[in-house]
Every structure is written in structure tokens, then in C-alpha cells.
């Protein structure tokens, strides 16, 4: 997009100034570069990645040095910035967006001594690993909470695009919801836009106007939906970051992703020289995914149930997508006791019964 040009120029200038430091010599600290697709704010995707970076600094102290460049558009700019990082002596690079994948893989092949970790992609190399989170696990839990507090039995979801990760989360959410409240159903508004806070707010209002008393703000990076919930007084659940401070009275729960332990592991492996490029899909068991700020209005009974399910998920005894599961058309997708396979979950393109809205075709 044309107006992005100036931001790009600024980003490039920022990158140049950060990187104009003396290149690392042999016994210098391990230099780790971070590239984020959006500006680092208090909350949101880049903020969570940045928390991971901060916990690295805490953990390793002067054994490492971290640098980051934010708001880097996918494409030639990202390629230039990561190449520059490599040229200036970075030993490891964290790539924070799907679209950095191909340029990252190319750079990894050219620099076998460096290591790379990449968010949400699918390509791997011996020195190039990727990471994702099993957010659907926590979606099931917050769904249970929604089932407890709803009085209208109508839950609204504000979602950006119908990609498998989002569909999987809506499915798990609905299953959790119906576990507690079999009569409740889910309505989805697809924004068809990755970023439009005013439209996200309008959508939340539209859902509330149609009886929804809990709104699930799914991957909205800004507190748009959360703040309108506090203003209008309806329950809200959000993803990525804890947004309690934006809706102290009306936040039902926040699903969070914490990359610290994965980042620390990868950096330790790089320091030890035994890094392997693997696909990491972190869930509740390893602490990558969790729920924070449960509202006190959730009944004690449901809360106890949530704790129980949460323990079962952590222990690997329960998978939210366990049959019998019926899709919107009434067809059985998973038989009694059948658990969805990981690759089926990663490519999921159907919604469960109880979701009223269709996936846009």
C-alpha cells in the first residue's frame, strides 16, 4: 500500500541506526534479532513476542544481546532488515510474522551458523524452526465460562478472517460453551480485514443489539472490542494479551500466549550449539497457552469444572476436539471418543454444530 512507504522508510532508518553497532566478535554475547510485524504496544501480538524477548534478557543477562525492529511489512523490507541483521553479526533471529518465512528460509540456508525461529509458518530447515500455539485449548475453557454467565444464551464472536486457527478456536469455544450450557449458540461476524478497530467495535455493538451478552474478541490486536464492552456493559473475552485494565468490570477472561519458555529453550540450544529446526506447537501443558483474569462472577461450580478440565488438558488427558462432534450440517465429523489429528486441526475448515454463522466461501 502506497501510504506504507513512509513508515517503511522510517523503519529502515530505525533498523540502520540500531544495527550500526560494532559487529559481534567471538567472545561477545550472543546477538539475537527480533522482527515484529506491528508496532509494540502494551497489548497484542507484537507485545507478547516482546515479552518473550524481555524474559530472555532476564534469563540470560549479559550472555545475550537483543535488538528488535518493529512494524516491518512482509516482503522486501523484511528481507532487507533480516539480511542486515545477519550482516551485522546477529547469531539468531526471531521472525514474528507468517510472511517472513521464505526470506527467512533463504537467509538460513546462506548462514548455516545462525539459528532462526519463525512464528506460524510451516517450512523447516536444520537451523530454522517454527512456533505456534494451541490456543484452542484455552478457547474451550473460556467457552465454558461464557456458558456460565450468559443469560440470553447467545454469544457473539468478532473474528477477522476464517483461517484454520480461528475456526479451530471458534469450534473449541463452542464445544466448551455447550458443555456448560447446551442451549447456547454462537454468532460470528467476519470482519474480512486484519486491522480495523472501528469496524471491530461496530461489530461488537451489532452482536449485542441482537441479544449477545458475551462477545469473544478473537485476534483483535487492539482493545477496541474490550473497551466498548466496558462502556456498554457486556461480557468480553479476548485473546493474545490480558486486557483486564481496559475492562475491569466486564472482562470475563483473557486467553494469553506466553513465548518465554520456548524462546529460552531455543536460545539455550543455540548457546549450547545443539539447536534443531523443529515445529513447536505449544499448549497449556508447557505453559505457552493459559487463561488469565477470570471474572469473579463465574459461578463456583463452573469454575471448579474449568479447573478440572484445565488440569486434564495440561495432563494430556483431554483434547477439546474429542468426538462425538457434529458439524453445522449435522454430519458426524468425529466418532465417539475419537480425537482430532494434529494435521486435521491445522487445516480445519468446518464449524461445529451450535455456531449459527457459516464460514464465508
Amino acid at each position: 500500500m502506497l501510504p506504507r512507504i513512509l513508515t517503511r522508510a522510517l523503519t529502515a532508518a530505525a533498523a540502520a541506526s540500531i544495527l550500526a553497532l560494532p559487529a559481534a566478535a567471538q567472545n561477545e554475547p550472543l546477538t539475537i534479532g527480533f522482527i515484529y510485524p506491528s508496532p509494540v504496544a502494551d497489548v497484542g501480538w507484537a507485545a507478547e513476542l516482546n515479552h518473550g524477548r524481555e524474559s530472555l534478557e532476564e534469563q540470560f543477562g549479559d550472555k545475550i544481546r537483543t535488538i528488535f525492529v518493529e512494524n516491518v511489512p512482509e516482503g522486501p523490507d523484511a528481507a532487507r532488515i533480516m539480511n542486515q541483521m545477519a550482516a551485522q553479526g546477529a547469531d539468531m533471529i526471531m521472525l514474528g510474522s507468517f510472511g517472513y518465512m521464505n526470506d527467512g528460509i533463504r537467509l538460513a540456508e546462506q548462514n548455516p551458523d545462525m539459528t532462526f525461529i519463525h512464528a506460524s509458518g510451516y517450512k523447516l530447515a536444520p537451523n530454522f524452526g517454527n512456533f505456534q500455539s494451541r490456543n484452542y485449548e484455552s478457547s474451550y475453557l473460556v467457552g465454558m465460562a461464557a456458558g456460565d454467565v450468559t443469560e440470553t444464551d447467545t454469544i457473539g464472536v468478532v473474528a477477522s478472517y476464517a483461517i484454520p486457527e480461528v475456526i479451530g478456536m471458534i469450534n473449541a469455544f463452542t464445544l466448551g460453551l455447550q458443555e456448560v450450557n447446551p442451549d447456547a449458540s454462537v454468532k460470528v461476524v467476519w470482519l474480512n480485514s486484519w486491522f480495523d478497530p472501528p469496524k471491530a467495535q461496530e461489530s461488537a455493538r451489532a452482536l449485542v443489539a441482537q441479544e449477545a451478552d458475551v462477545v469473544y474478541s478473537l485476534y483483535q490486536d487492539t482493545p477496541s472490542v474490550v473497551s466498548v464492552a466496558e462502556e456498554e456493559g457486556f461480557w468480553v473475552i479476548n485473546t493474545s494479551s490480558d486486557m483486564k485494565e481496559y475492562a475491569p468490570n466486564w472482562l470475563l477472561a483473557s486467553q494469553i500466549a506466553d513465548w518465554s519458555s520456548y524462546f529460552i529453550e531455543s536460545v539455550q540450544a543455540t548457546l549450547d550449539g545443539n539447536f534443531e529446526g523443529t515445529a513447536f506447537w505449544g499448549g497449556m501443558a508447557d505453559g505457552t497457552v493459559d487463561v488469565k483474569s477470570w471474572a469473579s462472577s463465574i459461578s463456583g461450580e463452573t469454575m471448579a469444572e474449568i479447573e478440572e478440565v484445565s488440569a486434564a488438558i495440561r495432563a494430556g488427558e483431554f483434547h477439546p476436539m474429542t468426538g462425538p462432534i457434529v458439524d453445522q450440517d449435522g454430519a458426524e465429523r468425529l466418532a465417539e471418543g475419537e480425537v482430532i489429528a494434529d494435521d486435521a486441526m491445522q487445516g480445519i475448515d468446518w464449524l461445529v454444530e451450535g455456531v449459527e454463522t457459516r464460514i464465508p466461501q
Partner: protein, 305 residues
């Protein structure tokens, strides 16, 4: 909240930013200067308005700050196109890009933060009318101001000497110049008014409509304004009709989705654009009429002897 109340009352608020920016740009274009930088001016106004409001807690200062920065950016456009005779299209685009970059720099420290939204103030008496009250008369102050602005713009452009002067400058700057009108000053004033209104519209987005700052939050609304004026054939009531139509259809499509009606949501998302363009194209199908209303010198480089 009832669905109908949501759509009608929401439309007034949703269209308010469009109305402010569109009335400003309409005046600028009537004087013969095209400013394609609205998106950037709105973004800068939004960032500045939000920063001012966060720091001082005053909505008035927020709106004034937004308007002032929009005005400042438009003055760059005025200087380039009126004094240095630069191409209006190119200069406008440059201002737009500059504005987006500037907004990101100004709002850097405030990314993702929120402020309490401008409170709604019901008109005493009227807001208690059942159904109609909550629909129309329970809005924030800027919504009422935007409606006053519509009438003021129409009145000034069509019924006053100032309006006649602005239109004369836009129709035939050489003739206006020969008559002794101060063409450059009038154009600069109109461009400045457009910039201030775009800045105000941006501030409305960031401190009233969606009270938060996030880079890119204007999300194309400035371009909608540019389109509304062309499709509304430079006539106040048509531009306003377009803005409200656009606002209502964008809320209606969300309501239809929320209702669970099985229609492709991509089509629904495109609906506001399609309906607005079709409606305005239909009412503006008379080519002669368009030629009568579009400022004859719009976009042309000013050449005064």
C-alpha cells in the same frame, strides 16, 4: 439494544467523521483545489487528538489539536499547489503519505491505548420520545455539530457572497483574478478549512467514535470521503446522503451477519461500497448536470498573470 436503534443511531455516529471531512473537502474542491491527502490528514488528526486528549483530559483540546494539525498539513498542500504550482494530485498524495507517517510518529508512545469516549448527551425533551429519542437524539455533541456543519456549508456555498466568491474562484480563477478577487488567498483558506475539518474528523475517530489510538485505524475512510464527493457531484445534499447511506449499510451488513443469515461475508463487506456507488451513480446519471456542478478548474494548475 434494539437492532433498529443500533442501526439508525449508529449510522449518525458512523457517518459523522465522514461528514466533517467531506464538508471540508467539498469546500476545498469548490475553490478548485483537489486534496487527495484526506486519509493522511485524518490519521494525523486522530493521532494528535488522541495524544492531546490523553495528556490533558480535555476533549476540546483534543479536537482543536487534531484540527490544528490537519490545518498545518493542508497548508503544505496549499503552499505546494497554489504558490509553487505543483500538480494537485501528486501533492495531495504526498501529503497523504506524509500524514500517515507523521501519525505513526506522533502516536508512537500511545499505540493501543484507550481513553473514555466522548459522552453522549441527549437533547432534553426530544431524547425521551419513545423509539425516536434513543435513535436520533441520544448522541455525542460532535454528531449534532456535524449536522449544523452540513447546513452551514450549504448555506455559505449557495446563499452568501463568500460562497459565490469561492465558487467563482473554482470555476474560473483567471476571471476571478481579473475581477480583483484574491484567488490565492481564497483557495488557501478553503484548503485550510478542508484540512482542519479532516483533522477534526480524525480526532472524532480516535477520541469519540473508537476511543483508542492504533496506527492505521482510519483504515481507508479518507478515501471514502474523496469518492463520496465525486459521486455526490459536489452537491452538499448528495454528499451527505452518500455518507449516511455508506454508514447505514456498513452497520446493516454487520447486523445481517450477526443475525446469522447465510450470505457470503465478503460480499457483505463490499456491500456499503457497492450500494453507495450504485445509488450515487444513479442519481447522478445526468452528465450535463455533473458538468454544471463540478468546479471547472478543479485539479488544474493555477496560472495567474
Amino acid at each position: 439494544m434494539d437492532v433498529l436503534v443500533f442501526i439508525v443511531s449508529g449510522t449518525l455516529a458512523a457517518a459523522t467523521a465522514l461528514i466533517f471531512a467531506a464538508m471540508g473537502e467539498l469546500v476545498a474542491e469548490k475553490s478548485g483545489v483537489l486534496n487527495l491527502g484526506i486519509e493522511g490528514m485524518m490519521a494525523t488528526g486522530a493521532a494528535m487528538g488522541f495524544v492531546m486528549m490523553s495528556l490533558t483530559g480535555s476533549y476540546t483540546l483534543g479536537f482543536l489539536g487534531g484540527a490544528a494539525l490537519g490545518l498545518a498539513l493542508s497548508m503544505v498542500h496549499a503552499a505546494l499547489t497554489i504558490v509553487f504550482r505543483a500538480n494537485q494530485t501528486a501533492s495531495g498524495l504526498a501529503i497523504g503519505i506524509l500524514g500517515l507517517g507523521l501519525s505513526s510518529a506522533i502516536g508512537k508512545k500511545f499505540e493501543g491505548k484507550t481513553v473514555p469516549g466522548l459522552p453522549e448527551s441527549g437533547i432534553p425533551g426530544l431524547s425521551e420520545i419513545p423509539v425516536l429519542g434513543p435513535m436520533l437524539f441520544q448522541q455525542d455533541l460532535m454528531v449534532y455539530l456535524s449536522i449544523i456543519l452540513i447546513f452551514a456549508t450549504w448555506y455559505v456555498l449557495n446563499r452568501t457572497k463568500l460562497g459565490l466568491t469561492i465558487r467563482a474562484v473554482g470555476e474560473n480563477p483567471e476571471a476571478a483574478h481579473a475581477l480583483g478577487l484574491r484567488v490565492r488567498a481564497i483557495r488557501a483558506g478553503c484548503v485550510g478549512f478542508g484540512g482542519a475539518m479532516a483533522g477534526l474528523a480524525g480526532a472524532y475517530m480516535s477520541i469519540a467514535y473508537t476511543p483508542l489510538w492504533a496506527e492505521g485505524m482510519i483504515a481507508g475512510r479518507g478515501w471514502i470521503v474523496v469518492a463520496l464527493i465525486v459521486f455526490g457531484t459536489w452537491i452538499v445534499r448528495r454528499v451527505v446522503f452518500g455518507a449516511y447511506l455508506f454508514g447505514s449499510i456498513s452497520l446493516l451488513q454487520l447486523s445481517i451477519q450477526a443475525f446469522g443469515v447465510n450470505v457470503p461475508s465478503q460480499l457483505m463487506s463490499a456491500l456499503p461500497y457497492i450500494v453507495t456507488i450504485v445509488m450515487l451513480a444513479v442519481i447522478s446519471r445526468n452528465a450535463m448536470f455533473i458538468r454544471l456542478n463540478s468546479p471547472a478548474s478543479l485539479g488544474a494548475t493555477l496560472r495567474l498573470s
